[in-house]
């Protein structure tokens, strides 16, 4: 019985060490070479669910020289937006996922996490916003298409409007000035949708309109639904827009929640949400250019060759081949939006990307809950991220909104979807209109 007593002491010791000190403040968890602390997981995972509270007459905080207004409210979970050639804005609304609860933990965590999200029903539709007179107020808010299945990614090329539902990629015929789709969409390709633990299907299109890129998230945090559930998951598909033929373009990307093509180079970029339960400051979500045929680590390793011991069986060859992502954004920020900037955003913000950070739930001190700008130089991220839209959390720790998709409006504004307040914000550069 002595060994038994010694063994029982072990978990108690772990319990104590898990409540350890805060990491050193001089560590830097973002950029090309972030500090990666040792993995740690106490007996209970860290969780802080921010209690929702309305904006009332408050607004997000934006930099000097910009102003912000809510251009649409009472939406049904706005996620991603698309600015059409005539300045109209399309908003994809919905909530997906049908993952079964496999463990008692899933039941409990589901109840807790739901407290930090909107209780509105999934819209499953596209809403069109129009500012006909150009005064910055979008007087028309109308349903462009409905009966969709948790639409998320949006892309337009000439007369083709592509929408990534949680289970299929579809195409609408689009004519400039339309306020309503002329008919139901046609299918381009089925998308993997079994379980759909990470259900969002991010979408972008090559500059020539030939290929669509679809981000398909993993079916688990870290293979806890079994390796079989991860076939055709955690990757980016390249889909032929004409035929619907697809192939994996890059793999090992745990949850690529937003994709964008870099103007000029045509390179595909992604923001990716990394794995949880390895500690408050691990693993960083990241921004990266996506190399064709590249493998980015998930599930076997993170940020290059850092092996994740929770994955069995392991694969040394895959670990050795894992590409280090370009730019860490920090752990648990939940980057869900990505768009390249342009001169219309002013000199300071002309070259770089905007990133919408939905915000953490699995960390003691919440992070994210803002839109940042990552400056670029010579086509690569260079320098520290800059807070662009903040104020989504109140000083007493409640949450007013959670940013998702970000889209640069060529008229000199940034469109930000807020899926907690069910609002679309427009951050306008003063003097641009």
């Amino acid at each position: 019985m002595k060994t038994a007593i010694a063994l029982t002491a072990l978990p108690l010791a772990l319990l104590l060490t898990a409540c350890g000190e805060e990491p050193g403040s001089n560590q830097q968890f973002y950029g090309a070479q972030p500090d990666l602390p040792s993995p740690e997981r106490g007996i209970l995972p860290s969780m802080t669910i921010a209690e929702p509270t309305p904006w009332d007459d408050q607004r997000p905080t934006v930099p000097e020289g910009f102003s912000v207004t809510a251009i649409a409210t009472d939406l049904k979970i706005p996620r991603q937006t698309l600015v059409l050639p005539n300045g109209d804005i399309l908003v994809a609304e919905g909530r997906g996922g049908n993952a079964a609860k496999l463990k008692p933990k899933d039941v409990i965590a589901g109840v807790i996490k739901a407290r930090g999200n909107t209780s509105v029903d999934s819209g499953n539709r596209l809403t069109l916003l129009r500012d006909a007179d150009g005064d910055g107020s979008y007087e028309l808010q109308t349903v462009f298409a409905d009966d969709l299945n948790a639409p998320y990614g949006l892309a337009l090329h000439e007369g083709n409007l592509y929408v990534a539902n949680q289970d299929e990629l579809v195409r609408f015929d689009y004519e400039e000035g339309q306020t309503k789709a002329s008919g139901p969409p046609s299918k381009v390709a089925d998308l993997p949708s079994e379980i759909n633990h990470h259900w969002t299907k991010a979408l972008t299109i090559s500059e020539d309109g030939r290929y669509l890129y679809v981000g398909i998230g993993s079916n688990s945090n870290i293979t806890e639904r079994g390796m079989e559930a991860e076939v055709d998951r955690a990757l980016v598909w390249q889909v032929d827009a004409e035929t619907g033929a697809y192939k994996p373009y890059a793999t090992g990307l745990r949850n690529p929640t937003a994709l964008a093509i870099q103007p000029g180079t045509g390179t595909l970029w992604a923001v990716v949400n990394e794995r949880d339960e390895l500690g408050e400051d691990l693993v960083p979500d990241y921004l990266t250019s996506v190399q064709e045929g590249g493998f980015y680590g998930w599930p076997y390793s993170y940020f290059g060759q850092h092996v994740d011991p929770r994955v069995k069986p392991q694969d040394d060859e895959k670990v050795a081949s894992a590409i280090v992502p370009d730019y860490a954004l920090g752990a648990h920020v939940a980057a869900l939006g990505l768009d390249f900037s342009s001169e219309v955003m002013g000199e300071q913000y002309a070259d770089g990307v905007f990133i919408g950070e939905h915000g953490s739930w699995n960390r003691k001190n919440p992070v994210g809950y803002k839109v940042i700008f990552v400056p670029f130089e010579n086509g690569r991220p260079a320098g520290d991220p800059i807070d662009f839209v903040t104020g989504f959390r109140t000083e007493d720790g409640k949450t007013r909104g959670r940013p998702v998709g970000v889209t640069v409006d060529p008229s000199g504004a940034l469109i930000v979807a807020d899926d907690l307040a069910n609002t679309v914000w427009r951050v306008v550069r003063e003097g641009s209109e």
Binding site: K103, S220, G226
Partner: protein, 142 residues
């Protein structure tokens, strides 16, 4: 016939049927979790780990209710139950609960601590049941 006199001192400490069911029920549940853990340890098949999680949750319900009976039993005026019985159940439940949290970790993070705890908790559950079911033979005392 002397048998009629025996009724006065037979089984004074017998557990109520519900108490006995709860106490004995925890054993196969904890044991099942242990066996599922062993299967996961050997096969990497995640479903075994899911089974273990639910079996432990069920065992905690049984053990927790049995513990309440044991606690009340400590204060019975006639033939209070032994403190050892309650304490064994208490330790079983607390370590079982820690084991449940351990099993809430993702994939292989459960190992090896989850398996070790399952061994310990199963042994404790058997010990608690043994002590709880054992009846002092009061009739032979004199």
């Amino acid at each position: 016939m002397t048998t009629t006199t025996a009724t006065s001192h037979v089984y004074p400490n017998v557990l109520s049927p519900l108490h006995a069911t709860l106490l004995c029920g925890q054993v196969p549940l904890f044991l099942g979790a242990l066996m599922a853990d062993i299967a996961y340890y050997r096969s990497y098949q995640i479903q075994w780990s899911n089974f273990a999680s639910w079996l432990i949750a069920g065992a905690l319900v049984f053990a927790g209710l049995a513990m309440l009976f044991a606690l009340v039993g400590l204060f019975r005026r006639r033939n209070p139950r032994p403190l050892t019985y309650f304490l064994l159940l208490l330790v079983t439940w607390v370590l079982g609960f820690i084991n449940a949290l351990e099993h809430a970790k993702d994939a292989w993070a459960v190992m090896p601590m989850g398996l070790a705890l399952s061994v310990i908790v199963t042994l404790l559950a058997i010990a608690a049941t043994w002590v709880g079911m054992a009846q002092p033979r009061t009739g032979d005392a004199r």
